[in-house]
């Protein structure tokens, strides 16, 4: 039973447009939500996070939105660039020390 779900295995977006990656979770005990980016043959790298007391967090071109009542979060990338093409993992945990539960990932392709 997947606690963190990413229902779109892949997404294609034109360069310059907005990319929206969605994530749903089932465990209401999760307090921290994270997005990781992974290039082929590399380990995941941390992108952006949000704690459950917030509904939005921005870092440059990346914004994460959290809707706790819907148990849904999304990552917005504006504007999308070809270098953003990667697999994006949504992840969640109960505390900052707890094990992180990852979603299955969404492969983003940004077309020049």
């Amino acid at each position: 039973d997947q606690q963190v779900k990413q229902n779109s295995p892949s997404l294609s977006v034109q360069e310059g447009r907005i990319s929206i990656l969605n994530c749903d979770y089932t465990n209401s005990m999760f307090d921290y939500f994270l997005w990781y980016k992974k290039y082929p043959a590399e380990g995941p790298t941390f992108l952006i996070s949000i704690s459950s007391i917030k509904d939005k967090n921005e870092d440059g071109r990346f914004t994460v939105f959290l809707n706790k009542s819907a148990k849904h979060l999304s990552l917005h990338i504006v504007p999308s660039q070809p270098g953003d093409s990667a697999v994006y993992f949504c992840a969640a945990c109960k505390t900052s020390y707890d094990k992180v539960i990852f979603g299955p990932g969404t492969s983003l392709s940004v077309i020049p």
């Binding site: 295995p9 921290y32 043959a41 380990g43 995941p44 704690s51 900052s96 707890d98 992180v100």
Partner: protein, 115 residues
């Protein structure tokens, strides 16, 4: 700059072999994790360790064991490799006291193929 290294980028082993995957971090982190990544399944936790000699099972520990004899090194052992253990294996290290789970650092991964 935190560095998490894994002993091999690519490994090919035969069914039934004992396989050792090594992970080393150079920042004195207490918490270390082993995940495997498979298409459509994301990263699944195999084992983790909060300190030397301590280990806890993750979500899919069957067929694996771990060793943490020194703080900087966390080894994943496949006792008798099977073809369904063909996967990308990722080690992670977590900085203590930094609060948010964003202070996780991943190694580059080991692509293991069991034939």
């Amino acid at each position: 700059d935190v560095k998490v290294t894994q002993s091999s980028r690519y490994l090919v082993k035969r069914t039934g072999e004992k396989v050792f995957l090594e992970c080393v971090q150079d920042m004195d982190h207490e918490n270390m994790f082993w995940y495997r990544q498979d298409p459509g399944l994301g990263l699944r936790l195999i084992y983790f360790s909060y300190d030397v000699k301590m280990k806890e099972k993750g979500d899919i520990p069957e067929g694996y064991s771990v060793s943490r004899e020194k703080k900087e090194r966390f080894s994943l052992i496949l006792e008798s490799a099977s073809t369904n253990q063909t996967s990308m294996y990722l080690c992670a290290s977590v900085a203590p006291g930094e609060g948010l789970a964003g202070s996780w650092y991943f190694g580059p991964g080991t692509r293991l193929t069991v034939t």
